[in-house]
Amino acid sequence: MKEIMADLDRWRTQGKRVALARVVDIEGSGPRLPGAAMAVADDGEVAGSVSGGCVEGAVVSEALEILRTGDRRMVTFGYSDDEAFAVGLTCGGTIHLFIEPLDW
């Protein structure tokens, strides 16, 4: 989250609503450790990353949805996921993200 602080500050100054996605847990092979963060502004602008690029597109959709509903939650991406998401990690690992509006 430190790495994207400048973007978070800029968006807050501009009055944009922001969703924050953080890696909280990984199983097996995973490119980024817990704490890796990505933020999505309500106009679709993106900062940071949570994987090697495999799931970022899906995270943007989830984040925008969470900004609409305010329903903060865990989202899991994995190779053998239950078809809930059409994307996975090509490395074979599983990552658990927590996505929330940055309203705190």
Binding site: M5, D9, G30, L33, P34, G35
Partner: protein, 262 residues
């Protein structure tokens, strides 16, 4: 967005003060937060006094260890229950690198170290060389003898930190190395040709350095054997060695090895 937890977190991270941010990620009160750090009152609540108390204790532990992870609790912080999952994320201050010697290689090493997230101090006793103009990316440029700087800041060095001795001048290098061996610094390296290095080892022995500690801890000549010549290539070889020393890996190409990558 008033966000006093965000603002407090932001101020701490900006000032390089360590903090841990606990967030309920599953269970009652999902999204609730508790911020813990040195020199600040715990801020926020996870929604239950007993849960706050237990998570506060665990967050202080994660803070000391510099680690992050998910922990599971009962609704009131009970162990061996899993009604509530809390992600405790620790924001440690950046690791430090002290570079002794304001030489040609120093500028490149400062730049590469900044890419890796180090807070970098350049130190040289020679006033004409140790200037912020020559090392604009350094966080700090100190005109002093290396061993005197180490006497002032050495007790703040730990396993994540690095000391790189680039001076090539025994009268600076030898006390710098002896001073660095007195700290808990995780990486210590000294630049120089094989010949410079053997002379330096003789001087260290003559000055009464703990030669067993020298053999165990001093990386000299500094850097991995990448065969590069430019200051930038040398800086990469040094930083790559620092990473390999920390992880305990062989620094061979992954194509030549087997087993897990991370």
């Amino acid at each position: 967005m008033t966000g006093s937890i965000y603002e407090t977190w932001r101020a701490a991270v900006t000032d390089h003060r360590p903090v841990s941010l606990a967030t309920v990620v599953e269970g009652p009160g999902t999204g609730a937060k508790l911020l813990v750090g040195e020199g600040i009152e715990p801020l926020g609540t996870l929604g239950d006094d007993d849960l706050d108390r237990v998570v506060l204790r665990d967050a202080v532990g994660e803070l000391a260890a510099g680690t992050s992870g998910v922990r599971h609790y009962g609704p009131h912080g009970e162990a061996r229950e899993a009604a509530v999952s809390v992600f405790i994320e620790t924001f440690a201050p950046p690791p430090q690198m002290l570079v002794f010697g304001a030489v040609d290689f120093t500028g490149a090493l400062v730049r590469v170290a900044k890419v890796l997230g180090y807070r970098v101090t350049v130190c040289d006793a020679r006033e004409v060389f140790a200037t912020t103009r020559r090392f604009p990316q350094a966080d700090e440029v100190v005109v002093d003898w290396p061993h005197r700087l180490l006497a002032r800041v050495g007790d703040r060095l730990g396993a994540r930190d690095a000391v790189c001795v680039l001076t090539h001048d025994h009268k600076f290098d030898v006390p710098a190395i002896i001073g660095a061996l007195d700290t808990e610094v995780g990486y210590l390296g000294a630049m120089g040709s094989r010949r410079t290095n053997s002379e330096r080892l003789e001087r260290l022995a003559a000055e009464g350095a703990d030669m067993e500690a020298v053999r165990r801890r001093l990386h000299a000549p500094i850097g991995l054997d990448l065969g590069g010549r430019t200051p930038e290539e040398t800086a990469i070889a040094i930083c790559a060695e620092i990473i390999a020393a920390r992880t305990g890996r062989t620094a061979a190409s992954l194509s030549e090895t087997t087993g897990p990558i991370h």
